[in-house]
């Protein structure tokens, strides 16, 4: 039990360090290129389809990680305390297993900073809740 608490504390500390590091001035990404980068994600994640093998991304910005009620997340994800924004997403996508240790997303990450910037720019456009017709 003690080691479990310690791990959570350490994880929290690690996550917050990463957030500080990532929240500095971010270059604007290119959403058109980001759409191409997103192909790596699309095997599991849809912008709005709860039947995909990964959780739907609709409305993800500002949401607490692991909080959709139509997806069964790992405990690591639900307890991560992460709230998705450009900075946390950037840190997560750089090395998913390092940022949230033990999460279930089977993806090695997006290595290039510019690819992540473009991807996040695309997602910011694509998954924001939009007004209906």
């Amino acid at each position: 039990m003690l080691s479990h608490v310690a791990a959570l504390v350490a994880l929290g500390a690690f996550a917050s360090v990463m957030q500080v590091g990532a929240s500095q001035a971010r270059p604007a990404g290119d959403p058109a290129r980001g759409k191409v980068v997103f192909e790596q994600c699309a095997a599991c994640h849809a912008l709005d389809d709860p039947t995909s093998s990964g959780p739907s991304l609709k409305g993800m910005f500002g949401r607490k990680a692991g909080s959709r009620d139509d997806y069964r997340y790992s405990v690591a994800m639900t307890r991560s305390g992460v709230v998705w924004d450009a900075a946390t997403l950037d840190a997560y996508l750089a090395d998913p297993q390092a940022y949230i240790v033990g999460n279930r997303m089977s993806f090695a990450g997006v290595t290039e900073q510019s690819d992540r910037d473009d991807l996040i720019a695309y997602l910011e456009q694509a998954v924001r809740p939009t007004e209906g017709p």
Partner: protein
């Protein structure tokens, strides 16, 4: 008394690759289709999600995704003079069960069979003379040529997202691909996987020795891919949990992420799981099927599903079993060589390979993928490989794979290492990272005595006779494995290893240790009802509204894995049903 259900156009038995392809194609053509699958629904999430799926004990050792032999199995003997006994635990091969079938837990090796394979008897007769083929080798040509099947191979490769490099584009030989392959109309849909160190060492040495190594064609996506139907595959993460597992990254071409969800979205299609088909029903003429009978394995209730067309798309072994249980066609008798259902069972001899150990090299075997590998086809697809010098028909591929480096199963140690105890432990720790294998996979020619029939003694959970398999390796198989095994060892010596095992020699076939799930034949295709159970469209000669789709149709086994032509023939049969049979029901040939 079975509850009779509403008639449909097509009932499909088994929903793996072949059933999934037929389900998608025939429901899209406007036919009402019901698929009866004996196992459960399986989806990437949650069934193959990490960490659940990385359980080697559950899935690799205890066969978590495979056929349960408690319910149905087969009996086995090496020769007709023996009494066959039931296989109570899976071993030599692992038939699938559940939605997606073995297409969920295959490795992903996706070949087009060679032009020689498609016309094998003609090739050997023309090149070596009629007397070169032994009298007891029931060798016969495919009734479908490579050129006819080429667009269907292409279609399957695009569906499954195959990574590879062409060696022959419209007759132009391409260096770095398989220069012995049949001409392709276009390149693979995806580039090859990134080679591992062992692959580079092997391919450099083989090329220097004058051979033609190339990356093994893999339905393990080298990058994210959207197939022509809009199905999305992720990039392979080289996790090493491929064969015997489902892919958590949707990177392995599998029916449950491609053809099956497309069929499921079609209102013409219905899937019923836990539906164990016990027989195909024939009318009083025995020339027409009226549907199938199945048992709901959850409740024990029996149902009759009437249908205009019955498509047997179960595992190759189960297709033959269902034909024999339903009395479709004439059972084969190896003593008199009469009948055709059960004939030409083939398997795939391995065992000629060598394992190399290096004090000074690190191979990181855990970075692995199912079909990941470097192959040479100089002793198989190569028509200039002189079989007269070997005195045998067929050939073998030589491969350095890197399919898994898992903790329970992958423990290479040099010859002479104790089998247990602290010396064994020390050796596995030392050599885990420092070894590589050069594998030899041989073709398997049919023999009149290698066949299936119904067992006279043992029955399954439904009270039906088990399928009985009589099988052994032949001198032809041993000659090929021995010859090509020596070639593999020669290449191995060029790499100057610290030590190397010697190629094994085959005795009798054993059904206990795992070898490959490449069981072929039993309901073979051909040009005449005298030597085949189905015609070139995989349509039963005897009951023309029954189609029998899968590796059961192969008249012999290549040195290649079967899934490429299994997928291609499924598209080919689906087209024949849509474009020929519907216009003119009845015998298509």
């Amino acid at each position: 008394m079975a509850t009779k259900l509403k008639e449909v156009d097509v009932v499909i038995v088994g929903l793996g690759w072949t059933g999934g392809i037929l389900a998608k194609e025939l429901s899209a053509a406007g036919m009402t289709v019901v698929a009866l699958e004996r196992g459960e629904v399986r989806n990437t999430d949650p069934d193959f999600s990490v960490p659940l799926i990385r359980d080697e004990l559950r899935f690799a050792v205890r066969h978590g995704l495979m056929q349960n032999p408690v319910r149905d199995t087969l009996t086995f003997r090496n020769r007709a003079s023996e009494t066959a006994l039931p296989m109570r635990r899976l071993g030599s091969f692992l038939p699938g069960e559940g939605v997606g079938g073995a297409g969920v837990h295959w490795n992903g090796v996706t070949w087009r069979w060679t032009e020689i394979d498609h016309a094998i008897r003609s090739h050997y007769e023309q090149r070596y003379g009629n007397s070169f083929i032994p009298a007891d080798m029931s060798l016969q040509d495919w009734p479908v040529s490579y050129q006819e099947l080429e667009p269907y191979y292409d279609r399957f490769e695009r569906t499954a997202g195959v990574s590879g490099r062409a060696g022959n584009l419209r007759g132009q030989i391409q260096a770095g691909g398989n220069v012995f392959e049949g001409p392709r109309d276009r390149e693979f849909p995806l580039p090859p996987l990134e080679p591992a160190y062992a692959h580079t060492l092997f391919s450099d040495a083989a090329a220097q020795a004058g051979y033609h190594p190339f990356p093994r064609p893999a339905a393990n996506a080298s990058r994210a891919y959207t197939n022509p139907d809009g199905s999305r595959l992720g990039a392979c993460a080289y996790c090493g949990y491929c064969e015997r597992f489902g892919c958590e990254a949707n990177a392995k071409g599998s029916p449950h992420i491609t053809v099956i969800p497309i069929a499921m979205a079609n209102p013409n299609f219905e899937l019923r799981t836990r539906a164990w088909v016990t027989r195909v029903l024939l009318d009083s003429t025995k020339k027409k099927a009226t549907g199938v009978v199945y048992t709901d394995v959850a409740t024990g209730e029996e149902f009759e599903q009437p249908a205009s067309i019955v498509a047997l798309c179960a595992y190759a072994i189960n297709n033959v079993h269902l034909m024999l249980l339903s009395q479709i066609g004439t059972p084969y008798d190896s003593r008199t060589q009469t009948g055709e259902v059960g004939r030409n069972y083939c398997y795939q001899p391995g065992g000629g390979g060598v394992t190399l150990f290096f004090e000074d090299k690190i191979f990181n075997p855990f970075m692995a993928s199912g079909a990941f590998g470097s192959v040479l086809d100089d002793f198989h697809a190569n028509p200039m490989f002189d079989r007269a010098a070997v005195g045998a028909i067929g050939g073998a591929t030589v491969t350095v794979g890197q399919s898994n480096g898992r903790p329970i199963g992958y423990r290479p140690v040099p010859a002479g290492t104790p089998r247990w105890g602290s010396a064994w432990k020390a050796a596995t720790a030392k050599w885990y990272l420092r070894s590589m294998n050069i594998g030899v996979t041989a073709s398997n020619m049919p023999n009149r005595y290698n066949a299936y029939d119904l067992d006279p003694t043992y029955r399954n959970a439904f009270g039906q006779p088990l399928l009985r398999l009589t099988y052994n390796f032949t001198d032809n198989d041993r000659a090929i494995v021995t010859f090509v095994g020596q070639k593999a060892a020669e290449i191995g010596r060029l790499l100057n290893p610290t030590s190397m095992t010697t190629p094994g020699v085959r005795g009798d076939y054993s059904i206990v240790p795992y070898q490959s799930t490449h069981n072929t034949g039993g309901a073979v295709m051909g040009t005449s009802p005298r030597d085949s159970a189905v015609n070139r469209y995989l349509q039963s000669w005897d009951v023309p509204n029954v189609f029998v789709v899968g590796a059961s149709a192969f008249p012999h086994n290549s040195a290649y894995n079967p899934t490429g032509p299994v997928g291609a023939l499924a598209y080919w049969a689906a087209d024949a049903i849509k474009n020929r049979y519907l216009q003119r029901p009845g015998q298509l040939v």
